[in-house]
């Protein structure tokens, strides 16, 4: 193992290199682009034996990745925001055809108005796409999660998005421990599964009538539900092999005796840890719930974690117009009918607006003050 300084984009590229991806299909977009640059350097230097497909757009990039995956390749792509939206049609194809393509997403706000800055709205736009969606709090987790994503995807036969925020993570260097290739090979063996076979020609994605379509969707959703356990198992196996525990689908930080839980995902989690430590130092019983897997959503695990708390504050770096924050809505849905705790949902840090640890602390105080008010969600930092 070697400790080095890597941006989130570079960490994603290292993850793809160590996973020995065979096909990289890509169309450039900011801020995901440096990941492709780094992977191209690996290819140029002979460190990666990967076929690079330069697509003419994101829709084609994911289509190429899907085709390569159907032919049996371990396949990777990177995108964000508008690129992800442009990929959407093929994203649903990839999930429905059950291909374990792994995609790194450097989360960026969606147009209009045009923005290049961090926000999780792009990932949230894909919440019904059938992709497993994992969120990373730091660059080490980006690298480690890419490795886990291939294993999870290939076990469940589902595509996986690995999310890290643009700039906050994609362009910020952090210490990252790059594992040895031999250890990764042992953790992540590859079994080629080819849906396309010239000796047994068949139609893929044929027209499916009402007699079968619903059953296909049942099986797809069943695989998604089973993924909760697979993600936990793969994370546990990773922790045994590499000594870093990212705790599967959900993590409780200082939650044992907590009466106020902060629920969030992505880079806000690492700020959250600082805030929780500060509140604990002041004698307040605060804890953090990190959602690592937004899809599938670990509703039962979340209920178990929030069983004893009095206050729940959910931070969303996204807005589902006319509805609230996506994580806030999932949290309320998970608790409804089981626990009657007020859930305060705050929309924060959209389009790259800075959201600092001291502001996170303010939001938690505000949430306790207003716990009895029945607002669906509130905006912070306007």
């Amino acid at each position: 193992m070697s400790l080095t300084l890597l941006t989130g984009s570079e960490a994603a590229a290292y993850g793809a290199m160590l996973a020995r991806i065979e096909v990289l299909a890509y169309y450039p977009i900011t801020p995901a682009f440096p990941a492709m640059e780094r992977m191209n350097k690996f290819i140029e230097d002979g460190e990666m034996n990967t076929r690079f497909i330069r697509a003419e757009g994101d829709h084609s990039a994911l289509a190429a990745a899907l085709g390569a995956s159907l032919a049996g390749s371990r396949t990777f792509t990177v995108t964000n925001s508008q690129g992800l939206l442009y990929m959407t049609e093929v994203a649903y194809h990839t999930a429905g055809l059950r291909q374990p393509v792994v995609m790194a997403v450097a989360n960026r706000a969606l147009s209009a108005p045009h923005s290049r800055f961090p926000e999780q709205g792009d990932a949230i736009s894909q919440d019904a796409s059938g992709w497993i969606q994992l969120f990373c709090e730091n660059n080490q987790e980006v690298l480690d999660t890419i490795l886990q994503a291939f294993k999870v995807g290939e076990t469940c036969r589902l595509p996986v998005m690995v999310n890290y925020e643009g700039y906050i993570q994609s362009h910020t260097q952090e210490e990252v421990d790059v594992p040895q290739l031999a250890k990764v090979d042992a953790f992540l063996p590859f079994t080629r599964v080819s849906a396309l076979d010239i000796n047994n020609p068949q139609g893929i994605n044929t027209v499916t009538s009402p007699d079968l379509y619903m059953d296909y969707k049942y099986h797809q959703n069943d695989a998604m539900s089973q993924a909760l356990e697979v993600i936990n198992n793969v994370a546990a196996e990773f922790s045994r092999d590499f000594g870093r525990d990212w705790s599967g689908v959900i993590e409780g930080y200082r939650m044992d005796d907590a009466d106020h839980a902060l629920v969030t995902m992505g880079s806000t989690v690492s700020d959250g840890r600082i805030v929780i430590d500060a509140l604990r130092a002041e004698g307040k019983k605060a804890g953090l719930v990190k959602i690592r897997s937004f899809r599938p959503f670990p509703a039962a695990a979340m209920r178990a974690m929030l069983k004893k708390v009095q206050y729940v504050t959910v931070i969303d770096k996204n807005i589902v117009f006319g509805s609230g924050g996506a994580l806030g809505n999932e949290t309320k849905a998970a608790l409804y009918g089981h626990l009657s705790i007020p859930v305060k949902n705050y929309i924060c840090g959209l389009g790259g607006r800075d959201f600092r640890p001291d502001e996170l602390k303010q939001v938690m105080a505000l949430s306790e003050e207003r716990a009895k008010q029945t607002t669906e969600y509130e905006w912070f930092g306007l």
């Binding site: 599964v193 849906a195 068949q202 139609g203 079968l212 099986h219």
Partner: protein, 100 residues
């Protein structure tokens, strides 16, 4: 109970084929079993004219059959089985059954 299906939605080549009546979009076809006594009820009911008596046996034209299953439903002998067109176990990658 959800039907057992291949993991990758797929079907045998030819399950969607060009026929005189246009594009056939069929997901199952009849297989005439041993119980057939050549009563020819199925031929009477088939809306596509896909069944005929050939060398003393009922034969199915897969160019004409639309997979509706009327023949199997009407057969007094229950001699006709509708067989799904998708390609069986091919592409099935077993996950644990019945867990959610």
């Amino acid at each position: 109970m959800a039907k057992k299906l291949p993991i990758v939605p797929s079907a045998k080549a030819g399950s969607m084929a060009e026929a005189p009546s246009g594009i056939i979009w069929r997901e199952q076809h009849p297989v005439i079993g041993d119980k057939c006594n050549q009563c020819l009820e199925c031929i009477m009911f088939c809306p596509e004219g896909a069944l005929k008596l050939e060398n003393g046996k009922v034969a199915v034209s897969l160019e004409l059959c639309n997979g509706c299953g009327t023949c199997a439903f009407e057969c007094p002998q229950k001699a006709i089985t509708m067989v799904l067109e998708f390609s069986g176990d091919r592409g099935i990658f077993p996950l644990k059954e019945g867990k959610s």
